[in-house]
């Protein structure tokens, strides 16, 4: 295993109470694999990703569990040790390429800065490397563009710059936190192509954080679905789309707009709101919104065979069928 997250929990102490942002999350990433972590806003997917690199560390944060990478537990490393991992072994790109680059420095300088933080090379060498990197992610005129400022690039080009920077030290793992969310659809597709290419050519393992099942379907090998700070389902791409186990996943799949089906009067949605992470439900966190909840759901279900639900599999296969396709019923037929 390249990277393995074990029983990771992240809590933030706030004035309103303790926020259980991530609760008992475990997943593994194999070398060369693309793992997608899917969930809606506030499900804890970004916090999970950032915690891997220690980016959520703060006086008000409590982190338990382990992040195993290369024989070390990253949660136990001090900042100095963590810096050798950040960028060098595990690189990260973020949602909004507009704000993720410092507006006052040329992009070449920002890439060179990263190289020089880890390698003993001259400014000139680092700059030459920056040009190569920009070329490798498909930025035209890299010789000239290396001297441009972030605001002189379009959103998609800026995300390419971020990717080029992330690749600078040839890391083993790339964590991409909603890398295409802020981009136009056509540009989205280009960025996903690029990530797939890097995955195939360099064997780069990718953790892709997204809320977009379309993105998942395009690139992922395996998918972890997060809800209210927990992983509720962990499956291969095929299994997730054709044999989803968790009712929340059914709800997500059922709410997709599909072009290959007659147009529904209105798009399906999951009734209710995600729970507060300050006082989450004591049993199954999805139970309050789940039309299939029963007595047992008052107890928290464990993640078993990549599924955090008390219903049995045969029952599930029956229940998830809504008018011939997968979905979550609006109300329980009693």
């Amino acid at each position: 295993m390249m990277l393995s997250v074990e029983n990771l929990s992240v809590r933030f102490a706030t004035d309103g109470g303790t926020v259980h942002a991530v609760d008992d999350v475990s997943f593994e990433l194999a070398a060369g694999e693309i793992l997608a972590i899917v969930g809606e806003s506030g499900s804890g997917k970004s916090v999970t990703a950032q915690t891997v690199l220690g980016l959520t560390r703060a006086p008000n944060t409590t982190i338990t569990g382990a992040v195993r990478f290369d024989g070390q537990d990253l949660t136990q490393l001090n900042d100095r040790q963590l810096r050798d991992i950040r960028g060098e072994r595990i690189a990260m790109i973020f949602q909004d390429p507009m704000t993720s680059l410092n507006p006052v420095y040329r992009v070449g300088a920002q890439i060179a800065e990263m190289i020089r933080a880890h390698r003993d090379v001259s400014k000139g060498e680092a700059r030459d490397r920056a040009v190569e990197l920009l070329a490798s992610v498909g930025i035209p005129n890299p010789e000239r563009r290396v001297r441009s400022y972030p605001h002189e690039f379009s959103g998609g080009m800026r995300q390419r710059v971020m990717i080029a920077m992330a690749l600078a030290l040839d890391p083993d793992v790339l964590i991409a936190d909603e890398p295409t969310t802020a981009l136009d659809v056509t540009v989205q597709a280009q960025i996903l192509r690029l990530l797939e290419k890097l995955n195939a050519e360099r064997g780069l393992a990718v953790v892709m954080i997204t809320h977009d099942l379309g993105v998942v379907a395009e690139v992922a090998d395996r998918v972890a679905v997060m809800y209210a700070g927990q992983i509720v389902e962990d499956a291969t791409l095929e299994s997730l789309f054709y044999d989803p186990k968790h009712p929340y996943t059914w709800g997500l799949l059922g709410s997709l707009a599909r072009l290959d089906q007659p147009r529904p009067v209105r798009l399906a949605q999951i009734a209710g709101q995600p729970p507060s992470l300050i006082a989450p439900p004591s049993g199954c966190r999805f139970a309050p919104r789940c039309p299939h909840a029963f007595e047992k759901c008052a107890e928290p279900p464990p993640l078993h065979d990549g599924d955090r639900c008390w219903l049995d599999l045969e029952q599930k296969r029956r229940l998830r069928d809504v008018d011939g396709r997968i979905g979550l019923r609006r109300a329980v037929a009693t």
Partner: protein
């Protein structure tokens, strides 16, 4: 760049014109400001006052008086009503003291403000931050004339640590120049240190939450490098703007209280005396001199801004 300079120069002319007109009008509407009556003395008879009035040209219509005065400013012939001294020469004479005071104080206040603001932001909420917060509030709240008097009394008069007053030219004796200016520098800098360090602290706390700072951390940069290269650098932009305005203002006679208490023969002291004797020519001269510096430093800051923040380009509107 050329267009920018032309535009700024035209702007400066407009500002100076407006300010001179306003000062001139204010002087003419405030009571008891008739210079002829003052110059003629306490026991003057009406004939004497009338003669002085004619001599000073005060019987002319206001626009004519104004134009005459402007002409005198630009030909360097403007003389004081009260002392018959040449105004432009007097301002010129005051420049070394004023510049020495302002440049020294500015170096002091920027250095301390950056150090204090940085420490405050880095230790936000902790003891260092609280202590510096109290300190800067004290600094902002202390009236300059009071602080100056206290420093003079305790450090110069009682403890004899510093000379009591006056200005020693830099060219004559650099060591004594600095020695004589230490207390005035501190006095003038205190207010700005307090204010600027607060501004810098809050800017830095904002910038620390920026996505690009998280990126810098994810790149594996050291915390100190992140704070200085990414946080401090970006937080300085608004502080530089403030600095341009304030520095222009103190050079242009804003250090009036400090110069007066420490008896530094600078432009501010001259302005203070002119106000005391309601003497229009030096007042107009000093005000225009001050306005000139404020506009000048504003322009310099705008140019500097384009270097500090590449998103800003001179001559075009900033992108939304």
């Amino acid at each position: 760049m050329a267009r920018f300079i032309v535009r700024r120069t035209l702007g400066m002319i407009a500002v100076l014109f407006a300010i001179s007109v306003i000062v001139f009008l204010i002087f003419n509407v405030i009571p008891n400001s008739d210079p002829a009556a003052r110059i003629a003395g306490k026991n003057a008879n009406p004939a004497l006052i009338a003669r002085v009035t004619t001599d000073l040209g005060l019987d002319q219509p206001l626009p004519v008086q104004y134009l005459t005065m402007m002409k005198q400013i630009f030909t360097g012939e403007l003389t004081s009503y009260a002392s018959s001294q040449n105004v432009v020469e007097q301002i010129w004479k005051g420049l070394p003291a004023t510049f020495s005071l302002c440049v020294g104080a500015a170096v002091l206040w920027m250095t301390l403000a950056v150090v204090f603001g940085y420490l405050s932001a880095v230790h936000a909420g902790k003891f260092t931050d609280r202590a510096l917060t109290v300190l800067s509030l004290v600094g902002i709240s202390m009236p300059v004339f009071w602080l100056a008097a206290i420093l003079l009394y305790y450090l110069s008069f009682k403890a004899q640590l510093f000379p009591t007053s006056s200005y020693v030219p830099l060219t004559k004796d650099p060591a004594n120049w600095a020695y004589h200016l230490i207390l005035p520098w501190i006095t003038l800098a205190v207010l700005f240190v307090g204010f600027y360090s607060r501004v810098l602290r809050s800017n830095m706390l904002d910038v620390m939450n920026e996505d690009y700072v998280r990126t810098a951390r994810a790149k594996g940069l050291g915390e100190r490098q992140i704070r200085i290269k990414h946080v401090l650098r970006n937080s300085m932009i608004p502080v530089i703007t403030l600095f341009g305005l304030d520095f222009g203002a103190v050079v242009g006679g804003g250090a009036i209280l400090t110069e007066t208490v420490f008896n530094l023969n600078g432009v501010g002291l001259y302005a203070g005396q002119a106000i005391g004797s309601l003497d229009l020519p030096p007042l107009i001269g000093v005000t225009m001199f001050g306005a000139f510096f404020i506009v000048l430093f504003n322009t310099i800051v705008d140019v500097l801004y384009a270097f500090l923040d590449p998103r800003i380009r001179l001559g075009t509107a900033a992108p939304a």
